[in-house]
């Protein structure tokens, strides 16, 4: 992990250098499960890449390898910076800490100066719309609000790369759509690179600059789609024919890959 990248392929996405690069990555678990097969892709700053695929195709494994939680069996993984935001499906808040103290956690772990941290945490809390909820404990928050806290917590370190592992998978449809829109606002203002794992093709197409479709296990990349819609994207985009056509294409690729 954390190898510096050779300056390669400066031609894509506004000349930004990749924040994450997978080169021919294969993962075989000790029990013999062949999770990933020859995965190659890269993500640049300012790019939002969603990965879709059937359950158990190794989507989450990609994130665990990218973050260094798991080693790859073969191939290379390179990160521009070890400072990454990782948002799980579960908000993973510490129940004994208030919203504010939860948001401050990562800064504490990185020994950020106390006063500075208080300020950063407040900014992040404001940014996700949880002003006035600072002193609540997580058990008093709804699922959507917990996820906002989780986002705010990662935002405090201002990472260049965000890994999202189905962060909105457990939320109801309306909350999910609202959070999708807010996540795009954050993406546009903070300009991070993002890898977003989801089961929802609509969510993937709505959020992403690129969508990658994966095959069932052992997961391979079957097709990559550039999503042409301009940012900022408005909620109504979801009801336009071009949007339906795009999700249709991704869906067809997934079916063909079965």
């Amino acid at each position: 992990m954390g190898k510096t990248l050779a300056d390669t392929q400066d031609d894509a996405v506004d000349g930004a250098s990749p924040v994450l690069q997978f080169r021919e990555v294969t993962k075989v678990f000790p029990d013999g499960t062949h999770a990933l097969n020859n995965i190659t892709f890269e993500v640049r700053r300012g790019e939002f890449v969603s990965i879709v695929g059937p359950s158990g195709c190794g989507k989450s494994t990609i994130l665990r390898i990218a973050s260094g939680l798991l080693p790859a069996t073969h191939g290379d993984v390179a990160l521009a910076d070890d400072n990454i935001g990782y948002v799980f499906q579960d908000a993973t808040l510490l129940p004994w800490r208030t919203v504010r103290r939860n948001v401050e956690l990562f800064g504490e772990l990185h020994k950020v100066d106390k006063e500075e941290l208080t300020r950063i945490a407040q900014d992040a809390i404001d940014l996700v719309g949880l002003t006035d909820f600072e002193d609540h404990h997580p058990r008093r928050l709804s699922g959507g609000m917990k996820m906002r806290v989780s986002l705010a917590r990662s935002l405090t370190l201002n990472p260049g790369l965000f890994l999202f592992d189905e962060p909105f998978g457990a939320l109801d449809e309306l909350t999910r759509e609202r959070l999708n829109e807010e996540l795009l606002n954050l993406f546009l203002s903070e300009k991070f690179g993002a890898v977003f794992i989801t089961h929802s093709l609509y969510e993937a197409v709505f959020l992403s600059t690129r969508v990658i479709a994966m095959s069932p296990r052992p997961g391979r990349l079957i097709q990559e789609f550039h999503i042409p819609f301009e940012y900022p994207r408005h909620p109504e985009l979801r009801f336009e024919p071009e949007f339906a056509e795009m999700t249709g294409k991704v869906s067809a690729a997934l079916r063909a890959g079965q």
Binding site: I84, F88, L94, W96, L105, D126, S142
Partner: protein, 296 residues
């Protein structure tokens, strides 16, 4: 970009507040609360009345006057145990002695138990080397150890405390260890991702997360430490008398009323210790822990 920023800053607090409104549980309505109070107060009170009535029936109807001493009626017990100052002083002095033994024993057991559980949580080999002996300590009947401990440490205060420690140690170790292990793997992942040291992980994740389980252990052990203090006192028959010794003396002298009084006080001691630790545990975790909130 500023417009997006604006959107987030202005658009979301109200929506977040809306989500919260629907989620925060409303305080209970008056009638439901009254019904619940009735159940929690009236039911035990009703049972108490039944119990006392039954007692009188046994004393006066079932037992002949000659055998009535086996179960003297409650008012005679109260007169003997609470009405006579000599008796009261004797039993309260014994109670104080036992309380000191039980409390000190519990504190020492908590200190040892927390250290052992923490060490065991840090390495499998430590757990594997310590746990079997903890189990043995738990399974050997405490009565079997009491004479030996008396011989070793002289039949005094210190020896009673040791018995109390031995009997109350195990639940503290197992519950604390369970608590320390209860953190989600995704929480551990977060700490790994942010380069947390072993110490930081223990301090900020494992220990705070273990508090509810820890206090469950303390509560169980609080009751056990009282048992240890009384059992050792009962069998040592030397040193300053506690409740255990008094139980034996009253039995030998056939002071049946006082025997009942001693049983009453020793139960009260256990109940108060159990309840006290439950209360402290609840106060510490009630803001975040579901189980403590459910207890009201």
């Amino acid at each position: 970009m500023t417009s997006e920023d604006q959107l987030v800053r202005d658009g979301t607090p109200s929506t977040a507040a809306k989500e919260a409104e629907t989620f925060i549980p409303q305080p209970e309505q008056g009638r439901g609360r009254l019904a619940r109070t009735l159940v929690t107060v009236a039911a035990p009170a009703g049972f108490f009345v039944l119990f006392v009535t039954g007692w009188y029936l046994v004393s006066y109807v079932l037992l002949t006057p000659r055998r009535r001493f086996l179960m003297p009626p409650p008012h005679e017990i109260i007169a003997e145990g609470f009405g006579k100052s000599d008796n009261l002083i004797q039993i309260l002095t014994g109670l104080w002695q036992t309380t000191r033994v039980a409390f000190l024993g519990l504190i020492i057991a908590i200190a040892i138990g927390l250290v052992l559980a923490t060490l065991m949580s840090q390495a499998r080999w430590i757990e594997n080397s310590v746990y079997p002996y903890a189990v043995v300590l738990q399974t050997v009947p405490i009565i079997a150890l009491v004479p030996l401990i008396g011989l070793w440490f002289d039949y005094n205060f210190q020896a009673r405390v040791i018995v109390s420690v031995i009997i109350s140690l195990f639940p503290i170790i197992t519950n604390t260890l369970f608590g320390l292990r209860s953190a989600d793997s995704s929480h551990h992942d977060l700490f790994t991702l942010h380069g947390a040291t072993r110490m930081t992980r223990l301090r900020k994740l494992m220990i705070p997360g273990s508090v509810p389980a820890m206090f469950t252990g303390f509560r169980i052990s609080a009751g056990l430490s009282v048992i240890g203090a009384i059992v050792s006192d009962f069998f040592f028959r030397q040193g300053a008398p506690g409740i255990g010794r008094l139980l034996d003396i009253y039995r030998l002298n056939i002071q049946m009323e006082m025997l009942y009084v001693a049983i009453f006080w020793s139960s009260m001691l256990g109940v108060v210790m159990f309840w006290g630790f439950g209360l402290v545990g609840n106060l510490l975790t009630r803001k975040w822990h579901d189980a403590s909130l459910a207890r009201g």
